[in-house]
Amino acid sequence: MNPAFSVIFLTTLLGAGQGVFLALFVIEARAAAGLLTAPSVMFYWMGSAIALALLAAGLLASFLHLGHPERAWRAAAMWRTSWLSREVIVLPAFMVAVAGYGWAHWQGLPGTLWLGAAGAAICLGLFLCTAMIYACIKFLQEWATPLTLVNFVVLGCASGVTLATALAAVLDEAITGITGAWAIALTCTGLLTRAASLWRNARLKPRSSLQTAIGVKHPRIVQKAQGFMGGSFNTREFFHDRTPGALRAVKWVFLACAFVIPVLLLAAGLATAVPVLLALACAVQFGGLIAERWFFFAQANHPQNLYYQAVS
């Protein structure tokens, strides 16, 4: 597939926003249980505002993907069958929940924990919808695996919790150490789950071949003409036109920037109590996740490509 930056930003921004919100909720729940020192009200509403801003930016990116954004409301129609439609419904619902959660904290209203629980449930639903958009297309074999869902959840949470750690450090909260530990743990888990999907995809056997594509059972078939000289939608949308070497380079860049460097920066930031290092961890990780998502799209090999191998 040819990675579209609108979708790359959509999925990474949503993941980070969801991760920030889940961090807030888990912190509040554990604080209510007396397991950690409760952070200030400011931490909650600022965190909610950041989460909301990330979600809104993701929503904006998704609009840039559409040919007819003015008709986007129609996308809520087919929620019975389409994961994309479900996402279109769940995302605004989640944004409302996050806004309500932050506002309730700001106003000092009671029952924020319940609001947070409801928001967390919607948040998990949103993860499911976003991941299933990709995982449900069975002939995109690189995506059609539960690991897609696992990675969307873990990577989203890792980036969000890293951001929450940076926020806690800036606000000088007592919970910085504990959220920092979570961020490191989640980022390491993300490295494992993403490596698992890389390992799996490297061993995939494509089920479609030129033989099944045109129905001729001969071991040697070559395309001589795809039917047109210039490009078409099929050559632009589904080919990234990068060399395998470039793809490998992006892979190592994202493994370093999304996982290894952020963990080192997080550890250094927590040890030295310098918030700038944590903020840097956040930025590097987000950049790394952009590269990760780019690779996620580029690696998916669509069976339609079998039909578009030679100009003439």
Binding site: L66, G67, T81, A213, I214, G215, I221, V222, S232
Partner: protein
């Protein structure tokens, strides 16, 4: 239930692209609006098409076969492109099985094109909606056309009659018979899409002549002998002197 479809005979297709141009001509002139092109007479021409003819070489020189392979939406019986569409713009008509896009509902998210394994959906870069073969739904039911012309434009245009059109659920239709009698097959059966369009394989064209066909069957007693050879001087038909 009806499932209209095309059956394409790869044994007969000569790769002339007549179906491509007639498809474009018909569908760019229809009520649904034009199918946009960019740089049609320039470098890197590109445009929206419902139908493409591709060419494959099978085998190794000198034992090669050239296979011309027309490809358009296969109107799958279980179309993966339809349930993924968030707006309901992509739908399959229950009455005749044609898969269509409602251009007024489509938001141009391209998700359906990702969900089609055959690469037959193309976004119109100017109208920003998804387009694909309609099986000339605006022709085949047009009562103003003579009955013989109520067929998709590509079928009408094919000079070798490589494209058959009909209802594959009717066992007596020309397409069902062609599939049955000539080993018609579906593309990429591994994904369970059950394409309605079928292809007929390349076949070796042989002429079988039996012994009894070399003799006059209406001469069972063999009373005809050899015809007498005319003398060299005798007039003959191809000889003007015979006048």
């Amino acid at each position: 239930m009806t499932q209209l479809a095309l059956v394409i005979d790869l044994n007969v297709c000569v790769g002339c692209h007549a179906c491509v141009t007639s498809c474009k001509e018909w569908n760019t002139s229809g009520a649904a609006g034009f199918m946009s092109d960019d740089n049609p007479y320039d470098r890197d021409p590109t445009g929206t098409f419902f139908n493409r003819v591709q060419t494959f070489e099978v085998g190794e020189f000198p034992n090669t076969q050239t296979v011309h392979f027309p490809k358009s939406c296969l109107h799958c019986e279980d179309p993966p492109c339809v349930p993924v569409c968030p707006t309901g713009a992509s739908y399959k008509r229950p009455e005749d099985g044609i898969v269509l896009v409602d251009y007024d509902k489509c938001i141009g998210c391209k998700y359906c094109s990702w969900a089609c394994p055959y690469g037959v959906r193309e976004i119109d870069e100017h109208q920003k909606v998804m387009k694909k073969c309609t099986l000339c739904v605006d022709r085949i039911y047009d009562t103003k056309l003579p009955t013989a012309e109520r067929k998709p434009a590509c079928v009408m245009a094919c000079p070798t009659n490589a494209r058959l059109y009909g209802d594959i659920h009717d066992p007596e239709s020309v397409v069902s018979k062609a599939i049955r009698e000539n080993a018609g097959y579906a593309l990429m059966p591994e994904w369970g899409t059950q394409p309605a369009n079928h292809y007929l394989p390349r076949r070796k064209t042989e002429m079988r002549i039996h012994e009894d066909e070399l003799e006059r069957a209406d001469n069972p007693l063999k009373i005809d002998g050899r015809l007498p050879k005319p003398g060299i001087k005798d007039p003959s038909l191809d000889d003007v002197t015979s006048w």
